[in-house]
Amino acid sequence: MELLKINNLKVGIEDKLIIKGLNLTINLGEVHAIMGPNGTGKSTLANVLAGKPGYDVLEGEIIFMGKNLLEMEPEERAREGIFLAFQYPVEIPGVTNANFMKTAVNEIRKYRQLEPLDAFDFLQLMKERAALVGLDASYLQRNVNEGFSGGEKKRNEIFHLAMLEPKLAILDETDSGLDIDALKIVANGVNSLRSPERSFLVITHYQRLLNYLTPDFVHVMYDGRIVLSGTKELALELESKGYDWLRNGNNGSK
């Protein structure tokens, strides 16, 4: 089943064209990886999918579970099942991670016409999912990301992912800033969240995450477009050849 379909997407920021005609289809249950040099528009794509204000969608369409995604408010998209693990997670003053997740989970449940979880069930769920991603329970009572180390913030993003059970999880460089052990834990967490009912779009610069995650497809993004798509071997090839390989005339070959 087709979960996400992006057709000829063009996005600008402040008069500058960033995404220049991007096509991508993700079926339910698939794991897609996007690689590509700095500044080619990977985070821009992730943000546009999540509905971050400030981007001008100039052309194209995005269909998510048969609905026009571009017409939805960011919170609606989240409730529909889009999750973004941020490249730079923000700190939220005065709100504990637990309280934040409780609000989020229950908002999403409300949207799906489910009863809110009671305090006991919620606590159980939270403990279980925190353990799944190796997040110590003490981080649940701290304010969201406040004073967390870079790696802890990334891990917390995966914890949120585990709590919210989205249809499409977008991971924007979740691996950067993680040490080897943390990387394994996060990757294992993600792997255990893989299901035929859930798809992943993983943005990364490094092969090592893909070693653990084994994507179904790897795409190379360059200058606002997907210029190359293949299987996991493509990532290996990229790692050995570097992006110069693309600049030297391989553009557009698929």
Partner: protein, 481 residues
């Protein structure tokens, strides 16, 4: 002008507009002079010492200048253009029913869970009860009387307990204290009085709901609370004003006196009308609140949630005179649209080993300005005194301002004064992050504001805390696009 002439003039003036009703006659004309003060004094049937006191205050007030040191701006107040004794709004100008009231206002009332009848009152719908001269609820009066607790309107207290009033009225806030205190002393016409006798623990929260109803009526409540040795009382003050497009002055004075081993807890939730989105209308809230810990081991604790008023100028303070006495100030001040708040506290340490704690949370949204102004003064004799102050500001958007003015004066070397301050901002990035987790902007702000305010909300009695929490989110409505 003799009183009967004055009254005649008023009645005739009213008659021109086509009304005669007993309520309509109960007011003095606009403006302030000694005759008006005599009129109020006579209306209130007060003993002679009060007239003398009021006139002294008035004469002193005339010699004073309106203060302008606070970080607030407003068009000058014409003190001769105010009614100093309640003049109910003319019935024909009032909406006849809730159907005629702005739906936006009704929506707000609904969110606050204000009952229908209350809504009518707040919206200024013509109802036949007299509202401006609020008198204190009498439900529990008898039960309190059994314990010897006096809880009545200040007017009743002046008539029935003149000795207590004469001893304590103006003893904490003398009329010479400041411009608005002098004005209040001259013209106050309502307020509450509490006396808790020795060793008595007041078994219930005492509460008053103040309202400003009539148009162009200055409100000058006067509250006096005396906790005798070893007693305890918790007092709640809720303030709401109906919506008017003109500004109204509110200059109250509250005095608290805690004798040896006594404790007074005073909580306020203030949501006077703040003015509209363009900054039109709203209450000018210039209030003097002060308590004295007169005896050893006494304690006074102020908790305030300030969400309303166009301008708030308010510094609930403690004079810690008795040795080992304790003063506390917990405050949340919220400003939105064009609201301005300059609020804080003074902790004056006079006795040995006195302690004070200040927790101030300022929240500014839209184009509002929110200032904390606090003084911690430790006198030479206050050996071993301690103060801890924490002032946190939260900004929503980037057109608002938060300012902190802590003044610290320490006059002996073995006292400890600690001050901490933080400023956080609810940025667009934070809001987007919350949105991305399925939480709407309004809920996100509510979540953050409640977290930010929790330490102060926890100080409020349970039912009050719930109301206050709702108020916080309602007053921040529309603060983001």
């Amino acid at each position: 002008m003799p009183n009967d002439e004055l009254l005649k003039e008023i009645t005739e003036q009213e008659y021109k507009y086509g009304f005669v009703s007993p309520i309509e006659q109960e007011f003095a004309p606009k403006g302030l002079n000694e005759d008006i003060i005599r009129f109020i004094w006579e209306k209130k049937k007060e003993p002679p010492f009060m007239l003398e006191w009021r006139l002294k205050a008035f004469r002193y007030w005339k010699s004073m200048q309106e203060p302008h040191w606070a970080k607030v701006e407003y068009t000058p107040i014409d003190y001769q253009d105010i009614y100093y004794y309640a003049a109910p709004k003319k019935l024909k100008e009032k909406p006849k029913s809730l159907d005629e009231v702005d739906p936006e206002i009704l929506r707000t009332f609904e969110k606050l869970g204000i009952p229908l009848r209350e809504q009518e009152i707040l919206a200024g719908v013509a109802v036949d009860a007299v509202l401006d001269s609020v008198s204190v609820a009498t439900t529990f009066k008898e039960k309190l009387e059994e314990l010897g607790i006096i809880f009545c309107s200040i007017n009743e207290a002046i008539r029935n307990h003149p000795d207590l009033v004469q001893k304590y009225l103006g003893s904490v806030v003398p009329y010479t204290d400041n411009f608005f205190a002098a004005l209040n002393s001259a013209v106050f016409s309502d307020g509450s009085f509490v006396y808790v006798p020795k060793g008595v623990r007041c078994p219930m929260e005492l509460s008053t709901y103040f309202r400003i109803n009539a148009s162009e009526t200055g409100q000058f409540e006067r509250t006096l609370i005396i906790a005798d040795e070893g007693s305890y009382v918790s007092y709640l003050e809720g303030c709401t004003a109906p919506i008017r497009d003109e500004n109204q002055l509110h200059a109250a004075v509250v005095e608290l006196i805690a004798l040896k081993d006594a404790e007074i807890k005073y909580s306020t939730v203030q949501n006077w009308y703040p003015g509209d989105k363009e900054g039109r209308g709203g209450i000018y809230n210039f209030v003097t609140k002060r308590g004295i810990c007169l005896g050893e081991n006494s304690k006074i604790s102020w908790t305030q949630v300030e969400t309303g008023s166009a301008i708030t100028w308010k510094y609930p303070s403690c004079i810690l005179k008795g040795d080992n006495s304790v003063g506390e100030f917990y405050s949340i001040a919220i400003t939105n649209n064009y609201q301005q708040a300059d609020t804080g506290t003074k902790m004056i340490h006079l006795g040995k080993n006195t302690r004070s704690r200040i927790v101030s949370k300022g929240i500014a949204a839209s184009r509002s300005n929110n200032s904390y102004r606090g003084l911690v003064q430790i006198s030479k004799k206050a050996v071993g005194a301690r103060n801890y102050s924490q002032c946190d500001s939260l900004l929503i958007g980037d057109k608002c301002g938060a300012h902190t003015f802590p003044y610290i004066e320490v006059n002996n070397s073995n006292s400890i004064v600690e001050h901490e301050a933080t400023t956080s901002k609810i940025s667009d990035e934070i809001l987007f992050y919350c949105n991305q987790r399925g939480i709407s902007k309004e809920d996100a702000i509510g979540l953050i504001v409640n977290g930010f305010s929790r330490e102060v909300l926890n100080q409020l009695p349970m039912e009050f805390a719930v109301e206050a929490q709702k108020l916080l989110s309602v007053s921040l409505e529309g603060s983001v696009g």
